[in-house]
């Protein structure tokens, strides 16, 4: 088995020109981001556009979106294992790897947002002092770590079975798979609660926040999967059944339907009752006192989500590659705005003393965020590159052939 892993690791560094170009591109982005991050460490977070009024920004927005992406696995796991839907079962491994990547990127986005990153151990068990169960920050860290561990175990187990050419022993792994479902729900719920539990911020302090988180996560994660799976199919020998893609698209349609409904419920409550608590939503969608930088973005996102919902709802549309991809891209972009900047920034606008500070990330924040995305892409590419020859049985087949020749 180990020799199979060693052979797979050897292949990670081999590839065609496009592969090397992709790697160089990602490494360049990462290098640029590191130089910007070193500057941020040196000067402080003043290099960002965050200030006392809007004290969380682009980093935390990306973090929030990525917690949603980590759901990618779960919408594959449910049909694969609970409903025995074969075509998806075969690709669930890639969903789990996306989840692993997303959680690691979440940790990176938290790290770059900390004013004192070296002190992060203060929040660790044993070494530091965890404010548990009081702080939702600690709950979220634990939930994400647990989710990471579950997915790493599932991937390692699958790779081990594949490397030795044996079928999944479901009896062994099934409890973990079942556990991963409520766990995925919990990472979104807890991340939502992190914002939700603050009465100082009426925009977040709405009971609909956690359900909205879940609904949008079940859109963005799987939508990203649709794109990634097609890329894997295109660039490797892995076969991905169209039936799996169509099923994922169908599930996204339901999730997006719920997402749009919940958004509507929130809009109705705020704008019909018209209390002062609607100010952040007003800022986001219509502008407040002449200021509203996020308006074009949120309307674009809303339009994207609605169009994608219609595409994925109609079987004849979602089963055409062009529309399938269009829908997936629209959802990823739409939810990125809605569950990113559109969720974090209006929490702070107007601030608790009524001030409007229009936040827009600096170039430095943008580059550092791009670097973390590049790190995620690099990590995922390497994982896929390592996995594919094991997954397809290519390495085992070659060895068997060699043995046969001898």
């Amino acid at each position: 088995m180990l020799s199979v892993f060693r052979a797979a690791a050897g292949r990670v560094v081999r590839g065609d020109v496009r592969y090397y170009a992709w790697m160089v591109f990602l490494l360049a982005l990462i290098g640029l981001a590191i130089s910007r991050y070193v500057r941020q460490l040196d000067r402080g977070l003043i290099t960002t556009a965050m200030r006392d009024q809007v004290s969380w920004g682009f980093y935390i927005a990306n973090f929030t979106f990525l917690v949603g992406i980590a759901a990618a696995a779960i919408l594959l796991v449910i049909p694969a294992y609970l409903y025995q839907f074969r075509p998806i079962r075969e690709i669930v491994l890639f969903g789990e790897m996306v989840a692993i990547t997303a959680v690691i990127m979440c940790a990176l986005f938290i790290m770059v947002d900390l004013g004192q990153p070296l002190r992060v151990w203060h929040a660790w068990p044993v070494l530091g002092i965890m404010n548990f169960p009081s702080s939702l920050f600690i709950w979220d860290a634990l939930a994400l770590l647990g989710y990471l561990a579950i997915n790493v175990l599932l991937v390692l187990y699958a790779l081990w079975r594949l490397a030795t050419g044996r079928e999944y022993r479901l009896s062994l792994i099934f409890p973990l798979i079942v556990l991963s479902i409520p766990w995925a729900v919990s990472i979104h719920t807890i991340t939502a609660f992190l914002y939700n539990g603050l009465p100082s911020r009426p925009f977040w302090n709405a009971s609909i926040l956690a359900p909205r988180f879940l609904a949008s996560a079940f859109c963005s994660g799987p939508a990203l999967m649709l794109i990634i799976l097609q890329l894997i199919r295109r660039f490797s020998a892995v076969e991905v059944d169209n039936k799996a893609l169509f099923k994922i698209a169908e599930l996204i349609a339901y999730a997006m339907g719920v997402n749009v409904l919940l958004l509507g419920a929130e809009m109705f409550k705020e704008f019909y009752s018209g209390s002062v608590h609607m100010a952040p939503l007003e800022y986001l969608y219509f502008g407040l006192r002449g200021q509203g930088m996020l308006q074009p973005w949120i309307w674009e996102a809303t339009a994207f989500n609605l169009i994608a919902f219609l595409i994925f709802l109609v079987p004849r549309l979602r089963e055409r590659p062009l529309f399938l991809n269009l829908g997936a891209v629209l959802i990823v972009l739409g939810v990125y705005v809605e569950k990113g900047m559109g969720l974090v920034v209006p929490g702070f606008v107007p601030d608790t003393l009524g001030e409007i500070y229009e936040y827009w990330p600096t170039v430095s924040e943008g580059i550092i965020a791009a670097g973390i995305w590049a790190t995620g892409a690099l990590l995922f590419t390497l994982m896929v590159k390592f996995t594919v020859p094991i997954y397809t049985g290519q390495i085992r087949a070659e060895r068997a052939a060699e043995r046969g020749r001898r």
């Binding site: 460490l41 004013g115 929040a123």
Partner: protein, 307 residues
């Protein structure tokens, strides 16, 4: 004062050193405090939470911090660790009928508590409202008013700072317990334990918490050397700070700087447990209210009208 140590000591060398270090040792190393000796850095890195330290550890830590402060500010800075007095819970208040919006409290606080001059950090915010307009939801508050003279005709003022919540949202959310409520009711921050996540700033309903977005700068001759560990000792960048009701003064039996500086006597202060204190008299005899009482944070900061 035209020169501050952090500006004069700031040229390219620092960032270049930081950059090479980053390349050589990996990213983490760059955030290490660039103190006089490497050994010092590691002691700082492993420094424990204030409330977890023994008396002996506190003594040694204070010595080291004073040494670092002398190096950084070229001035002897005393860091006291005076504990809360038994039988004391502090409360404060502002008489809105008297406040003229002069902001002398704001600047007295800055000088007393070693707040950064650039970037500008203020622990007190004075809000201005137009008379006759709705104001208690703070939505129409004006923070950046710049009049030639105060008070201005047709306006009134509301100073806001830490509201000394008994049920503090900021304390509840802090992941590392770096901020807590002392027995005398003052909410403090351990600047050496805060990781700078700013969750407390999101949680505070009164905008009372400030983050050091850059290295604080204070002209050397303006640094107040009389400091407290949990209060006005100089802070590093990347941590949160806030009003501590001048913990170094009030625990020594003095008034907070803002109370002393107020030219019209609008600011009040006292021991809530002492039935004879001024603050108790006001609570019992005036119509008092607290900001955002619907949030149930139970502030110990009272607003009232004398007229």
């Amino acid at each position: 004062m035209d020169d501050t140590p952090s500006e004069s000591g700031r040229p390219a060398t620092v960032s270049r050193r930081a950059f090479t270090k980053g390349l050589a040792l990996g990213l983490g190393a760059t955030a290490l405090p660039t103190g006089p000796a490497a050994a010092l850095d590691w002691t700082a890195f492993f420094q424990k939470h204030f409330r977890e330290m023994s008396e002996e550890e506190i003594r040694r830590t204070v010595e080291r911090l004073e040494r670092e402060a002398r190096h950084r500010w070229r001035k002897d800075i005393r860091i006291s660790t005076t504990r809360a007095m038994p039988g004391v819970v502090f409360g404060a208040g502002v008489d809105l009928s008297r406040c003229i919006g002069c902001r002398r409290c704001v600047y007295a606080c800055v000088e007393e508590n070693n707040q950064s001059r650039n970037p500008q950090v203020h622990w007190i915010t004075v809000l201005r409202f137009r008379k006759g307009e709705k104001w208690s939801d703070l939505a129409n508050a004006e923070k950046y008013y710049e009049p030639g003279r105060v008070p201005e005709e047709g306006f009134f003022y509301l100073p806001v700072q830490c509201q000394l919540c008994d049920n503090s949202p900021c304390v509840r959310v802090c992941p590392t317990r770096a901020t807590w409520k002392e027995p005398d009711g003052i909410v403090v921050v351990d600047y050496n334990w805060c990781i700078g996540c700013r969750y407390c700033m999101a949680a505070c309903p009164f905008g009372a918490r400030r983050f050091n977005w850059a290295e604080p700068t204070i002209p050397v001759d303006e640094v107040n050397p009389d400091t407290h560990y949990l209060g006005n000792r100089p802070r590093p960048k990347g941590v949160v700070e806030k009003c501590t009701l001048c913990i170094h003064r009030v625990r020594a039996g003095r008034y907070p700087a803002c109370v002393e500086a107020c030219p019209v006597g609008a600011r009040k202060f006292g021991n809530l447990l002492d039935p004879g204190s001024e603050i108790r008299y006001l609570i019992e005899h005036k119509r008092v209210f607290r900001l955002k009482e619907d949030l149930n944070t139970e502030p110990k900061f009272y607003y009232f009208f004398s007229a």
